[in-house]
Amino acid sequence: MTRPWQGAELARAISGKLPQAVVEAQDNAVQVKPAAMLDVARLLRESPGLEFDYLASVTGVDYIDFFEVVYHLVSTRQNHSCIIKTRVLGRDEPVVPSVVSVWQGADLQEREVYDLVGIRFEGHPNLKRVLLWEGFPGHPLRKDFILDREKVEYPYLRG
Amino acid sequence: MDVIYNIFAILEKGIVDGLTPSLGAEAALAVMALIKVFLVANVGLIMVMVFIYMERRVLGRFQVRIGPNRVGPGGILQPLADAVKIMIKEDIVPKAADRLIFNLAPVMVFVPVMLVFAVIPFGVGMAGGQKYYMSVADLDIGILYVLAVTSLGEIAVLMAGWSSNNKFALFGAMRAAAQLVSYEVPLVLAVVGVVIVAGSLSLTKIVEAQAVPFIFMQPLGFVIFITAVSAELNRTPFDLLEAESELVTGYHVEYSGMKFGMFYLAEYLSAFAFSAIISTLFLGGWQGPILPSYVWLLIKILFVFFVFIWVRATLPRVRIDQVMALAWKFLLPLALINIGVTAVEALLWPTFPWFLAPVNIVIGVLAVWAMAAAFRNVWEPQWKPARLATAPVGG
């Protein structure tokens, strides 16, 4: 059975090395500062006892006041899991550091989050839209997204 | 009974004798040759339909399904329906294609195959105490002619692939250039063994030399020849030119309508031609008990084609470097071994008595076994990727 880390427990483990990183410990997740995300990622992957080597999922959620990026991490060696969250305020240009340098598995997932939620990942080697085409107006999984059919230009329909 | 056995010979003699008084001997023979050409061309085209039908039905049964069975009784008119469909389809020439070469290629691929039929002896008959061979021309250098003419087809494939201005077609054409030329070599060398045993290049003489079919006298040659032929015909496992799952259909991807039909036709026509040649060279040609000679050849041709279908139903495709390795590192040495052995035998027993057949089978099995064991390392290499990325995908 995969053991989920409790938020408080994991927050202690992170604060020991990176005292400024943790914002809040929730019951099963830890919320960290976006600026510290990359350091936290390295810590989680490399420090013994944690060894989160497998990035299961990267999700972006639009909570209207802020964007949240959720990382589901698993350690295949220790068979335990944890959830890391990071919040970015402001709707115009949300930026989170990319963790591709730590887990290559984040590559396509971060591109997808960028495409559908519109969170930019600083340091991503190839941050382009994935599922939608370049020039698509807006990011569909944002709560304020309204599809204006008139405005959308379908490049594949042009002659 | 005798009439059925010798029907074609009797007809030939009758026509020539009947025309000679009015036209003269030379002109009568010329008319006879024209009639033969007409007959052989049409037999070839009808056989293509039989082959297409047979391939689809037998392949269907190999795959535990039925195959075409809607048009006509048992689906027997399916090739006709296909032909009608292909003829009424729109003929599309890509804008960027080299029109002259693009249009010439389907003709070019068709002509050499048709030429092969000139020398294939379909049977033999006696009329008026004289022996008549059922072939348009019984050339003294028959087999050499066949090999020379069939290699012209490669140029057509190259033309088709290049002129289409399509990258997949170009891949197919480049593979064709590599593969077809390579397999000419073992093909010719395998024939050399047969020629040594038969002592003649003429196809009729080769058939008549086969008191014991050459599949027993030349087992190694047979294996090499049939492998090389399936590569020449680009049939599975050597269908890299078309490579459905890789190159879509390879060199004729841009052809549609009747031009595609010509490629399709040529493919089955050459399958027919090579089945006939394999039957002639190795399976004793028209020879056989009870049945008329031409029926025997037909049975043998269909059997050879059945083997081709069987292989197609079973084997996956090999990669281009493996195809080339097979030609140069496996078949070529085997062919040389075969020629050497046959040549030594020719010196020791110039009449090639029957006891050489088991000897040759043993030698063949041993040679294939030894070569295969050695070839394993070539075929199944600890192969590393050739080189890593140097340039990004261009704009």
Binding site: A56, E112, V130 | E246, V318
Partner: protein, 368 residues
């Protein structure tokens, strides 16, 4: 004088016999050697995640059918488990067994398709594919008996399954179980030792275990690299902790191992199905839950299962309403493509098709 050469840029797909759907690869070739690859997605993007935000929890089950349309049952299962976690519903015991049984049958069907199409990509003219179809047909017949559909099942519900298994299902399943092992042996006889297949797949498209984990690869592709990671064992859900089965792992991480792992997983799935059939208790198959499922506001849950293609996860966030606030689908096919470029570079065009086929992706799931 050195000759200057340019790479040929070829678009493989979106319409191509071997891209398993509408997938496009922009490949730069040097001769036949792949120099660079750029995968292009999105031709089948239907916005499932956005659609899910406007549908009730029950209605979303129909959307999950259309993700990986060759393994709809496991998609249903992953989603339903996530919602059960979110809303705190517990499925009855029998429902859990039924789900596991059905999911394992689905795994066999999906692996049959994967194997058949993989061999087809190598160039065998549809023969193994047809044999695989024949057995898949039997599984689909059984699913039709359960839920009336053959591809898009909509069978599982929050808190169980929509129907109990019908009477006619059991004899069909028993005859399938009796016949299937011999069929798998037959595939192996036809394929496993075939020298051409071995030559085409051995040492081709190797991916190391470290790389595979780092790229978040899951499923048979990960296990073929030698990582013994299967969520059915690592994080048992439903009743997998009561089942006896092995996780087949490969050694080299090449295409051949992926094929072997899939064949072996089919055997293991048959074992699980047999155990399910023996252990299955009687009782209801659907928990007493309101037909309009609601979850507490602010709840979030990540439910994941081992689908035939890999780890299929649903991350759901609730705002207390009748539909999820956010529904993220962690699709294995999509994430398994992360390492595609690394796997393809330096191989030939023919190998590209083989490697791509061995990953066994499904475009419905990649593009969602």
């Amino acid at each position: 004088m050195a000759l200057k050469s340019q790479p040929i840029i070829v678009n493989i797909g979106p319409q191509h016999p071997s891209t398993h759907g509408v997938f496009r690869l922009r490949v730069a070739f040097d001769g036949e050697v792949v120099q660079d690859v750029e995968p292009i997605f999105g031709y089948l993007h239907r916005g499932s995640e956005k659609l899910a935000e406007e549908r009730t929890y029950t209605q979303i089950v129909t959307l999950t059918d259309r993700l990986d349309y060759l393994a709809s049952m496991t998609n249903n299962q992953a989603y339903v488990l996530a919602v059960e976690k979110l809303a705190g519903v517990e499925a009855p015991e029998r429902a859990k067994y039924v789900r596991v049984l059905i999911a394992e049958l689905m795994r066999i069907a999906s692996h049959l398709m994967a194997t058949g199409f993989f061999i087809n990509d190598i160039g065998a003219f549809a023969t193994p594919l047809m044999y695989c179809f024949r057995e898949r047909e039997k599984i689909l017949d059984m699913f039709e008996m359960c839920c009336g559909a053959r591809i898009t099942y909509n069978y599982m519900r929050v808190g169980g399954v929509s129907h109990d298994l019908p009477e006619e299902f059991y004899p069909a399943l028993r005859s399938f179980l009796a016949e299937m092992p011999a069929r798998i042996d037959e595939y192996e006889e036809l394929l496993t030792e075939n020298e051409i297949l071995v030559a085409r797949t051995k040492n081709v498209g190797v991916i190391s275990p470290e790389k595979a984990i780092n790229c978040s690869i899951s499923g048979p592709v990960l296990r073929a690299s030698g990582v013994k990671w299967d969520l059915r064992k690592a994080d048992p859900y439903e009743v997998y902790d009561r089942m006896q089965f092995d996780i087949p792992v490969g050694a080299a991480g090449d295409c051949y191992d992926r094929y072997k792992v899939r064949i072996e997983e089919m055997r293991q799935s048959l074992r699980i199905v047999r155990q399910c059939l023996d252990q299955m208790p009687s009782g209801p198959v659907l928990a007493r839950a309101p037909s309009l499922v609601r979850a507490p506001a602010g709840a979030e849950a990540y439910g994941h299962i081992e689908s035939p293609k890999g780890e299929l996860g649903f991350y759901l966030v609730s705002d207390g309403g009748i539909s999820p606030y956010r529904c993220k689908i962690r699709s294995p096919s999509y994430i398994n493509l992360t390492a595609l470029r690394d796997m393809l570079l330096g191989w030939k065009l023919a190998d590209l098709i083989v490697i791509f086929g061995s990953i066994d992706i499904n475009m419905g799931e990649v593009d969602r």
